[in-house]
């Protein structure tokens, strides 16, 4: 078989030129768009109403081996810091107790988001037709596995070194007990993986990652550092280096559908729904964790929110997508109102049901109260007085037999759970924008706290018919449920959740809870 003249010439030249040569990742990647081929049934298993272009490129042009090398270098730095310097400084224990408790929630709940994002990225990889676009989603898929393990590692590290390991050791098992869990699943799990693939991308990449990872993953490192925690910044800032790839993926998702005129019909509605879904949970929960879960404050949450969510994301990031027909969500202005009071409303409820947590909570100290009043004028009159009353009734002391949940019952402050967001709210006590709406569907009543969620429900109720913790355990006594859902420490009787973080305070046990005789009740029954 003959070989070409060019080949012959090159082979001859080879004898003269034997410089050491290798191949860079980009030289392989440049062929990637040709890796696909057409065939009859080449379509996604996850249909989307959008049309993704066949020639969409990716911004981070990596091949598998180069990806592995880069991530491995990041890992070496991260684990080197954790296992060497930080361990020798006993940094895992020298953390403000309240913050060490906060990280039980932050790290584990973020882990859930990361884990579900593996499946979400895989769905997008399946949906895209362009090999480069698939490759971008694949890179994200691998990143999400990395982040799942990194978040787990934060809990693992604190379990080894923090002075209260309970909750860090078993968050994956006990987290389902509290009323914040289902809402977390809505934004960080099902919202990413269940729906139109592009709608899920908008939830995950365009809103979850481009909007809320800045306050969640970046701002949290500043709060952590202020409170003695250098473990979280070491890990989370390493996570954030990958998030840029994910934001780029979200951008490319929009680029890939923008050529289709029909996209304009759906895109802004899907974006608005995704934004409201994400903000409905993150706005109050992050604000609550930062401000009520810390000893040293960084800045008022409303300022953080305004900078990252309203200006940076709603203005600049969405502005860049304006040429593709993307508009700032109509619900952004309502969300801005929530950013002021919603986290204060939520902490009131979270503290009231503290026995269902896998972390210890603390009433605001005098120092905290002064800070709240200075930054949120009117805070004391609405919230501060209630905390003073609870403290006076001995809510921190097991011998009092008083759980603040009882105060809600005594004062006819009914607690509902919004069906669409799964976020609890108390209409008679809220200072934020929530208001009660009730609809009947499939022979059952459903509560809602805002217009945007109500709209989603009315459009597609079958997507959100999920029972909440009050319905699931209606009629059951609280200590029974806590024991059933593994809410106790290694002695089998002391609760993981506690209403204080003081050294001197006694720890509540199942018997203490039983004496209070709290029974789960469905307010809509």
């Amino acid at each position: 078989m003959a070989i070409s003249l060019a080949t012959n010439a090159a082979t001859d030249a080879l004898a003269l030129n034997r410089a050491p040569t290798s191949v860079g990742a980009q030289e392989v990647h440049k062929w990637m768009q040709d890796f696909n081929w057409d065939f009859k049934n080449n379509r996604t298993k996850y249909p989307t109403k959008y049309l993704m272009a066949n020639d969409t490129k990716e911004q981070f042009k990596l091949i598998a081996k180069e990806y592995a090398r880069m991530e491995s270098v990041k890992d070496e730095r991260q684990f080197g810091s954790l296992q060497d310097a930080l361990t020798r400084m006993n940094a895992g224990n020298r953390v403000a107790p309240k913050w060490g408790e906060t990280m039980k929630v932050v790290s584990n709940f973020l882990e859930v988001g990361e884990y579900n994002a593996i499946a979400a990225s895989a769905m997008l990889w399946d949906s895209a037709s362009a090999p480069e676009q698939k490759n971008g989603y694949l890179g994200q898929c691998m990143d999400e596995i990395r982040h799942t393990h990194q978040c787990g590692y934060v809990n693992y590290y604190f379990a080894k070194y923090f002075h209260d390991p309970a909750g860090h050791t078993d968050a994956r098992r006990v987290r389902t007990l509290g009323p914040l869990w289902k809402g977390m699943k809505r934004v960080f799990a099902d919202g990413f993986i269940s729906g139109d693939a592009v709608e899920c991308s908008i939830n995950l990449q365009l809103v979850g990652e481009a909007c809320f990872t800045n306050p969640l993953i970046v701002a949290v490192t500043e709060w952590a550092s202020a409170n003695g925690d250098e473990v979280t910044p070491t890990v989370f800032l390493s996570i954030e280096t990958d998030e840029l790839r994910h934001m780029a993926n979200g951008y490319q998702t929009v680029v890939s559908i923008a050529h289709d005129p029909a996209a304009a019909k759906y895109l802004n509605t899907d974006l608005n729904n995704a934004f409201w879904t994400q903000q409905k949970y993150f706005t109050p929960v992050l604000g609550m964790l930062f401000e009520y879960g810390s000893k040293f404050k960084v800045e008022p949450w409303v300022k953080t929110w305004n900078r990252w969510v309203y200006e940076d994301w709603g203005g600049i990031w969405i502005g860049r997508l304006g040429k593709y027909g993307v508009q700032s969500p109509a619900s952004l202005k309502d969300a801005k109102k929530d950013a002021y009071w919603a986290h204060h409303d939520l902490f009131l409820l979270a503290y009231a049901v503290w026995p269902t947590g896998f972390f210890r909570l603390a009433l605001p100290s005098k120092e905290d109260a002064d800070w709240f009043e200075a930054n949120y004028p009117g805070w004391y009159d609405h919230y501060g007085k209630i905390y003073e009353e609870w403290r006076a009734r001995g809510c921190e002391d097991p011998s009092s037999g008083f759980i603040p949940l009882q105060w809600f019952v005594e004062n006819n402050h009914e607690i509902y759970i919004d069906r669409v967001s799964q976020v609890p709210f108390c209409p008679s006590l809220t200072k934020g924008a929530s208001s009660l709406r009730i609809h009947e569907y499939n022979g059952k009543k459903h509560a809602f706290s805002d217009e945007w969620g109500e709209r989603m429900w009315l459009s597609e109720p079958e997507r959100y018919e999920c029972q909440n913790v009050f319905e699931q355990y209606a009629g059951r006594e609280l200590s029974e449920v806590i024991a059933e859902l593994w809410g106790v420490r290694s002695d089998g009787v002391t609760l993981i959740g506690q209403p204080h973080v003081t050294k001197e305070g006694k720890l509540w046990t199942l018997d203490d809870i039983k004496r209070a005789n709290c029974v789960f009740k469905d307010p809509l029954a």
Partner: protein, 391 residues
């Protein structure tokens, strides 16, 4: 204070650190410090891989092994659930039972592959410096590698894509990471087939490293018709995530994949003076063996031995064997036609050598896969069917 300004740290600022230390109790509040202490270890004690991976999947208890309760908070349009038992015919008493024998979690995985990349780059520098390309037979270099190593790249790329829906739908966390790593290895393999040709182009300008030749062979060549159709069917026609993985990793890849990678390129390359291709393929074979052990744990150790559903699962595996084996064997038979296009080499391209080669693949597969689930195969008949494809 602006976020850009220096902020005091609680760990290092003496005043803040003192306030924090004053709040820390003298003794820990709990004696249990092992994260995931409730996880059933596969070995004597929990490994870091198990601690990092187990129960990261937040499924409810009506999916076996799940720790959550209740329904999904958001479903697909129309009400289909986020994850569900209906996504596979397999049944399990605990979808969290699987363990990757290699204990791979993300840092372990990327460290190994990153090292492979560094080693490969050093190898390429040595190979080029030695002018080792000069020893490669021109037909092998200019005809076989572009066509058939290129076509192998498409097979690997198709298998890679067969994993996407599996990663979306599978119901366990240890399963998801095993499948993800297997997928990543497959796309890596496809890229490495490209790298071989791009590398040759760099040291031999004028050599065509475009994937077009391999693509044409894969999409239009008679030698790959059944292989291509099998891969397409695994990728896009099959919705059961266990069936996709079983067909890929328990049938097609250990038969067709091993025939092409190990018995064609690895075995024949030295005969044509090619020390480049076997070096690159050695990485693929390492990945194959690691994946093989992980898949054996899923389909043999866990699902075939499931205390409640083992017999039921085995029946389904037999059904899938019946469904996917014929097209895989046909793919191997069609691949035989390539041998006729090779310059002859005694002990490599003669019929007896090829028959021995096919026998090795089939025998390995029967011992390591079919026998494990008591699936009866006539080795001689299967080998004869494949060899019938020789021209």
């Amino acid at each position: 204070m602006s976020l850009l300004e220096e902020r005091k740290r609680g760990l290092t600022d003496p005043e803040m650190a003192a306030k924090i230390m004053a709040e820390i109790p003298d003794q820990p509040l709990d004696t249990q410090r092992k994260m995931g202490y409730y996880v059933q270890p596969r070995g004597k004690r929990l490994t870091e891989y198990e601690i990092m991976t187990c129960y990261t999947q937040p499924t409810p208890d009506w999916i076996s092994g799940g720790l959550d309760w209740g329904d999904w908070t958001q479903k697909f349009h129309g009400g289909r659930s986020s994850w569900g038992n209906e996504t596979t015919e397999m049944l399990s008493s605990d979808w969290h039972e699987h363990r990757d024998p290699a204990g791979r979690w993300h840092p372990v995985y990327v460290k190994a592959k990153g090292e492979d990349w560094r080693v490969l780059q050093r190898f390429m520098e040595t190979f080029s410096a030695e002018g080792a390309l000069r020893t490669i037979d021109p037909v092998w270099r200019d005809e076989i590698l572009p066509k058939h190593l290129g076509a192998l790249g498409y097979s690997e790329y198709g298998l890679f894509n067969a994993h996407s829906s599996v990663l979306r739908d599978c119901t366990g966390d240890t399963l998801r990471s095993t499948f993800a790593f297997a997928a990543f290895d497959k796309v890596d393999n496809s890229q490495m087939t490209q790298l071989v040709r791009t590398f040759i182009t760099k040291i031999m300008p004028g050599y065509d490293d475009s994937p077009a030749i391999g693509k044409k062979e894969w999409t239009q060549g008679a030698a790959y018709k059944s292989a291509r159709e099998t891969v397409e069917s695994m990728w896009q026609d099959t919705y059961d995530w266990n069936e996709v993985m079983f067909a890929t990793h328990m049938i097609y890849d250990p038969l067709f994949g091993q025939l092409v990678r190990r018995e064609f390129f690895q075995r024949l390359s030295p005969a044509y003076g090619d020390s480049l291709t076997p070096f690159v393929l050695a990485g693929m074979q390492t990945y194959f063996q690691t994946t093989k052990a992980a898949m054996a744990d899923i389909y043999h150790h866990c699902l075939d031995n499931d205390k409640n559903y083992g017999g039921f699962n085995r029946r389904w595996m037999h059904v899938w064997m019946e469904k996917w084996l014929p097209s895989t064997v046909a793919a191997m038979a069609e691949f035989m036609s390539i041998y006729a296009t090779l310059p002859t080499r005694d002990g490599f391209t003669d019929k007896a050598s090829i028959a021995a080669s096919v026998n090795r693949v089939v025998e390995d597969w029967i011992v390591d896969y079919a026998n494990k689930i008591d699936y009866k195969v006539d080795q001689s008949a299967m080998v004869a069917t494949i060899l019938a494809g020789l021209k």
